[in-house]
C-alpha cells in the first residue's frame, strides 16, 4: 500500500525529524524524537522493527563506532576504570548513545520516503522549485535504499560463503571485515551512479526545460492537517528544548 499523503507532506516530516535530531542537545530529547519517528513509521504502515532487525548488522557497526567514540571522549563520571585510567565515562557513554539514536532517527525518517512512488516524489520536489535534475536524483536515491539493504545482506552472505563466521571474530578483525563489506558497496554505488548519470546524458536528459506530468499532485485536507500537526509538534519541541536554558 502506498501512502495517501502528498509526497511534500512526507518530505516535511523527513526534514523536521532530521532537523530535530541534529538540534537535540541531549540523549533524552533524542530518545523522544526517536520514539516519535518510530510512531510515524507505524502510521505510514511501515514495520520499523522489521527494518531495524534487517539493518542489524549495519546498526551493530554503528554501535561499534560509538563504542570507540565513548572511549575517546573524556569528562563526566567514570564508569569503568582500568589501571588508573577512565575507560568509559558517563559523558562518553552519553555521546555514543546520542550518536546511535541520531543515526537511527535519520534512517527511520528517510524510510518514510520509500512509501511513495519515486515519480510522485520527484514531482513533489519540483513543485517546491527544486531543480528537476536534483529532484530526479533524490527520487532515484530513495528507490535505491531498499536495494542497498538487500545488497548489504547479500554481501554478508557472500562473506559467510568464504568460510568466515562474523560472530566469532574478535573486534579488530570484525572492523576490518566490515570495511571489506562497506567499502566495495560504497565504491560500487559511486561507480553505478556515475554510469547512471552518463547514460542519462546520452539519452538527452537535459533536452527539455518545461516538463508536464500526467498526474497532478494536489495537497489535500489531510495533508494540511498533517503538516500543521507536524509543525506544531516541531515548534513545541524546539521551544522546550531551548526554553529551559
Amino acid at each position: 500500500m502506498k501512502s495517501r499523503l502528498d509526497p511534500r507532506t512526507t518530505m516535511l516530516f523527513i526534514v523536521l525529524t532530521s532537523t530535530l535530531s541534529v538540534l537535540a542537545a541531549n540523549m533524552y530529547w533524542l530518545l523522544l524524537i526517536f520514539l516519535l519517528t518510530l510512531v510515524l513509521n507505524v502510521l505510514f504502515g511501515l514495520n520499523p522493527f522489521k527494518t531495524l532487525y534487517r539493518m542489524r548488522r549495519f546498526l551493530s557497526m554503528i554501535i561499534i563506532i560509538a563504542f570507540f567514540q565513548s572511549i575517546a571522549s573524556s569528562g563526566g563520571k567514570p564508569i569503568i576504570r582500568l589501571l588508573g585510567a577512565n575507560i568509559v565515562t558517563s559523558k562518553g557513554l552519553e555521546d555514543s548513545l546520542s550518536f546511535v539514536l541520531r543515526m537511527g532517527i535519520v534512517m527511520l525518517a528517510v524510510l518514510l520516503g520509500t512509501r511513495h512512488d519515486s515519480r510522485d516524489m520527484i514531482d513533489g520536489l519540483t513543485k517546491l522549485k527544486i531543480p528537476y535534475e536534483l529532484a530526479f536524483m533524490t527520487g532515484i536515491a530513495l528507490k535505491f535504499i531498499p536495494l542497498f539493504g538487500q545488497e548489504f545482506a547479500d554481501r554478508i552472505k557472500a562473506v559467510s560463503l568464504r568460510g568466515i563466521n562474523i560472530n566469532k571474530l574478535k573486534l579488530p578483525k570484525k572492523i576490518k571485515l566490515y570495511s571489506y563489506i562497506l567499502v566495495p558497496a560504497i565504491s560500487g554505488s559511486i561507480i553505478k551512479s556515475r554510469d547512471i548519470a552518463s547514460s542519462m546524458e546520452t539519452r538527452g536528459f537535459r533536452a527539455y526545460h518545461e516538463r508536464t506530468s500526467l498526474k497532478e499532485l494536489k495537497l489535500k485536507l489531510v495533508d494540511y492537517a498533517a503538516m500543521t500537526v507536524a509543525l506544531a509538534v516541531f515548534i513545541l519541541i524546539i521551544y522546550f528544548m531551548f526554553a529551559r536554558r
Partner: protein, 217 residues
C-alpha cells in the same frame, strides 16, 4: 551429495518459482542446467547452498537437512559462484581478495600462499595482483570470483553462468577447469545458457528448467 525432496519455493506468496522438485545431485558428475530467463535456475542454485530457504520440502547436504544450518556451515561442503561477480568481491587488491578469509581466520599458511600463486597463474591474474578488483574488466572480475571459490576444497560447487561474459579462450580454460574438478571426484552444477559443454561425456548430465519444474534431458 545434495538431495532435494519435493521442494517448492516462492519469493512472494502464491507465486511459486520452483514446483515440487525432487532430484539428487551426486559428486563426480557435471550437471549442466539450462532454461529461459526467469525460469528459476538461480533460485534452485541458491536453495542448494542455503542462500534462500524453504519449508516446503527438504534440502539435504550429505544427508543433513540444511534448514537449520548457517550459510557458513553449508559452505564447508557446497560452494557457490554468484551470477554477479561484484557481490563477492571485497578486498582492495586481487591478492588480498584471495587471502583475506585466511588472514581473518588466522590460518594464512605457506600452503595457502602457494595455492594462491597457483590460482593466480591458472586464472591469468598474475599481473593483476595489485589491481582494485571492482575496476577490472567484467571477464577479469568473473575469473577472480571463480578463483576465490576454488580456494576452498568444497566437494560440490554451483556455478551460476560462469562463462557469461568471458572471451573464447578463457571460456575454454574455465570449462576445462570445471571438468578437471569433476574428474577428481567433485560435483558441479553449471548454470549455462550456451551449449558450451560437450554434453556427451560419461559423467555429464544435462538438465532443463521450465516453468519451475526440473527435467532431465
Amino acid at each position: 551429495m545434495i538431495e532435494l525432496i519435493d521442494v517448492s519455493f516462492a519469493y512472494n506468496k502464491n507465486n511459486l518459482v520452483l514446483k515440487n522438485i525432487t532430484y539428487t545431485f551426486n559428486e563426480g558428475v557435471l550437471y549442466v542446467l539450462s532454461g529461459k530467463n526467469g525460469s528459476g535456475k538461480t533460485t534452485l542454485g541458491k536453495l542448494m547452498c542455503g542462500l534462500v530457504k524453504t519449508r516446503q520440502g527438504v534440502v539435504k547436504v550429505r544427508g543433513k537437512d540444511i534448514y537449520k544450518m548457517t550459510v557458513g556451515e553449508i559452505s564447508e561442503h557446497v560452494g557457490y559462484l554468484y551470477q554477479n561477480p561484484d557481490l563477492q568481491l571485497f578486498a582492495p587488491t586481487v591478492y588480498e581478495e584471495l587471502v583475506f578469509p585466511y588472514e581473518l581466520n588466522g590460518k594464512l599458511t605457506d600452503e595457502i600462499k602457494e595455492k594462491v600463486e597457483k590460482l593466480l597463474k591458472d586464472f591469468k591474474l598474475d599481473d593483476k595482483r595489485k589491481s582494485f578488483p571492482l575496476l577490472m574488466s567484467l571477464g577479469e572480475r568473473q575469473r577472480l570470483a571463480l578463483a576465490t571459490i576454488m580456494m576452498r576444497d568444497q566437494r560440490f560447487i554451483i556455478f551460476d553462468e560462469p562463462t557469461a561474459s568471458i572471451d573464447a579462450e578463457c571460456k575454454r580454460m574455465i570449462q576445462e577447469f570445471i571438468q578437471a574438478f569433476v574428474e577428481n571426484g567433485g560435483g558441479a552444477l553449471v548454470i549455462s545458457h550456451d551449449e558450451d559443454f560437450d554434453l556427451n561425456g560419461a559423467n555429464i548430465k544435462s538438465l532443463r528448467m521450465e516453468g519451475g519444474v526440473l527435467y532431465e534431458k
